[in-house]
Symmetry: C3
Subunit: 331 residues, 3 copies
Amino acid sequence: MGANAYEIGQNNDFSVEVYGVAAISMVDYGKLAGKQGPVLENESRIGFRAGKAMTDNIEVFMQIEGGYVDNIDWAHGGVAGGTLGQRDTFIGLKGDWGKVRFGRVLTPMYELIDWPYANPGLGASWDWGGDVAYYYDRQSNTVRYDSPSLGGLTFALAAGRDDDSSNAKSTSGSATKDSYYFGGNVNYTIADMVTLHGGFETADKFAGNDVDTFGYLLGFEASLPAGFGLAGAFKSGESKDNVTKIKSTQDSYSVIGQYWAGSLGFKLGYTANLEHEVGGVKVKDMEDNIVSGQVMYVVNGFVPYLRVAERDLDGGSKKDTVVRVGLEYGF
Amino acid sequence: MGANAYEIGQNNDFSVEVYGVAAISMVDYGKLAGKQGPVLENESRIGFRAGKAMTDNIEVFMQIEGGYVDNIDWAHGGVAGGTLGQRDTFIGLKGDWGKVRFGRVLTPMYELIDWPYANPGLGASWDWGGDVAYYYDRQSNTVRYDSPSLGGLTFALAAGRDDDSSNAKSTSGSATKDSYYFGGNVNYTIADMVTLHGGFETADKFAGNDVDTFGYLLGFEASLPAGFGLAGAFKSGESKDNVTKIKSTQDSYSVIGQYWAGSLGFKLGYTANLEHEVGGVKVKDMEDNIVSGQVMYVVNGFVPYLRVAERDLDGGSKKDTVVRVGLEYGF
Amino acid sequence: MGANAYEIGQNNDFSVEVYGVAAISMVDYGKLAGKQGPVLENESRIGFRAGKAMTDNIEVFMQIEGGYVDNIDWAHGGVAGGTLGQRDTFIGLKGDWGKVRFGRVLTPMYELIDWPYANPGLGASWDWGGDVAYYYDRQSNTVRYDSPSLGGLTFALAAGRDDDSSNAKSTSGSATKDSYYFGGNVNYTIADMVTLHGGFETADKFAGNDVDTFGYLLGFEASLPAGFGLAGAFKSGESKDNVTKIKSTQDSYSVIGQYWAGSLGFKLGYTANLEHEVGGVKVKDMEDNIVSGQVMYVVNGFVPYLRVAERDLDGGSKKDTVVRVGLEYGF
């Protein structure tokens, strides 16, 4: 209407970046997968970023990222994975004061769980194999702040909402007022050699259920001489039923060693979920552990790898060998 | 086969444009939303355009646009919003004779309803809050012609089809022969100061139901001195049941004032759905009105805004305050 | 952790290509489509490619392609078509030794069925109108090798898996160990005038059902003098029930002539599904045939076309005329 009238989509001094990850692997999940046999998993995805400076010290940025292109995403009610918005999708502001993002992002604690402590192939126990649900992974309705590096120290804080436990549980529209979470992480690098990680996450009505949860993680990464590296983390969580007041608890740890001989790398990881207690009493056959080894080779930005994992889940009742060979690269 | 053989995908003198809108807001829908509480809404979307000249006076263009990246789109049977093709998605031809588009586009009348008469925050009454359904919004199976500017006058005409009333109602494949619509708009700008808008839309078996509908809109926008602006529109619609022959009617209006002091803008809007009559008899408690104010600030192409709307729906039985703070930009 | 540590998404010497096909048509499927009437079909789609050299003789490439932007894809459980990953989506390696792709690709035999033998408008009989299911089209969980040109000869081999017969049948995760297929094609061009095509495909537990299948195709394309061209193919398939041991068989053929007068092209095609036999006994009213003509005009890379097909399906019990006018271009 007036000279200042503004219409969305008319200004074009923004640049759009198309990015993605190409990730294909052939995996045999072993006996536990029943008649499935070896399958190709295409975890490739496409994303878009766009932004520019708003003021001298505020840059606006946004990201929209699709899911894995070949997976049905049951959490979204069976929608095929390749829908935009399934992975980290947000709008943010950043400056030398740090960055804040609004939307769908990793929680600060899960970010640590996922990296560096789940690779190679420990996730089935360490990430999502436990018996107490006390952390989200990627969560909508989240506001997350990440600090700049303060002399080797960085930290992140996030608060978010969840919804009822319907299939559409990751979308913003169906949030429930009573369900929210708060979490953070802190990372401190000493002499470029050792990084310490800490994280926590606490929730009311976790995932829309009538339970309150709390968990924390402590870990380290060390870059050792002669191409060696070592990382380890411990996490512990509890979930309290708001009706029965009974607490459910479990501790877990993960240890990963690696060795690089030039472009050739080896990783060996071990993880375990320890005793699962409900009301202070140990539940039988809940322990899990995985030992997994990986050989990889960096060649011109590509990392082909071979991974073999021995899984021993649910107190030894589910033993299996999982073999995966794959290739991935970011673009 | 021959020298003239043609295969799709082999010619690359087309350029592809990736565009989009980033739009995040935090909104509290108030008491009416029950236990929902404040939520983050990410209405960002990604689109693609490609085209080039076919002849001297025909340029071919196409657009594919995805839906809001965090919304479940129930109209598509629960599909997550970020699927390509949910918003305006078409192939068109244009020249100095105007443009024609084939596919999924806004109807000419709804285009006016949505802009400039629904902003700020009047949609819950003005767009989709009425009691008589007599216009589509974005509709597949549509052919739409838009004229070039003819001395300040432009007009648009569209005809389209609809399908049965299944969940998949917006896709082309399930059209029903008996359900179609026809609509148009006309816009006339006088002395760069005042623009008059008119629109109409009529349908047989609207939305697959056995009703015939008709509606029209009359409105104006005026750019006043000293940064002021004013806009107002009246619309009226009816729906006739083909079996009972009973008519259902309702009128609505919307008035919006704005004022810009440099980069700082204010908007104040008021809209009302008036008496809803069925068979000439007023139905009780159907009136709606919303008064909504918005403060916004244009900074380097961004428009952060704060909006507060007082909603008074269904004859006063649903009163609520909706607060939204957001940021959006096109790229 | 160490100096060689690698994180996905950090290296950016890859270029990403956005490509696509714009394809709109208005089609009337005739009486057989019941009350549908003429509809607009938007078969446009968007894809992404990214890759670069890994070694001197291995280039890594990937492709992610979405489905038709306006179609509900029932094979994916009702997901809207415009989801990334529905069409050919893979990661591959190539060099002067050929190329190998892992993921979701056309089977070698179906690639021939679809082109050049299904155009113009023969698919409803030739592609998917037969009574014996003995080939896939686009299949996940596939490894496919394509040879380089060896003096005019090229060949392709593919092996893949299928899953149970749930709705989610095209995704990798639900593969069934017992269901796999193997197929190939060979193409030989003589004196730039004639190309011979051969293909075969065999499967155990085809599409998750307890049947074993086998089929083959033989065909040719000839570029004749004065703008004429001719193509023809014969295919034959069988499906054996593993329980009853009864065989189901059917043969089909397709013949297409074309003529180009400068930019103006004509195509005339005829296809038929012949007798359908089960256990050696002919099943009544199973024959199909289509005769279809197309006029098209190549103008600056665009190909507007008009197509009229006479369909005579199921032994004459389903006769209809299908008319389509459309425009498509790759970008």
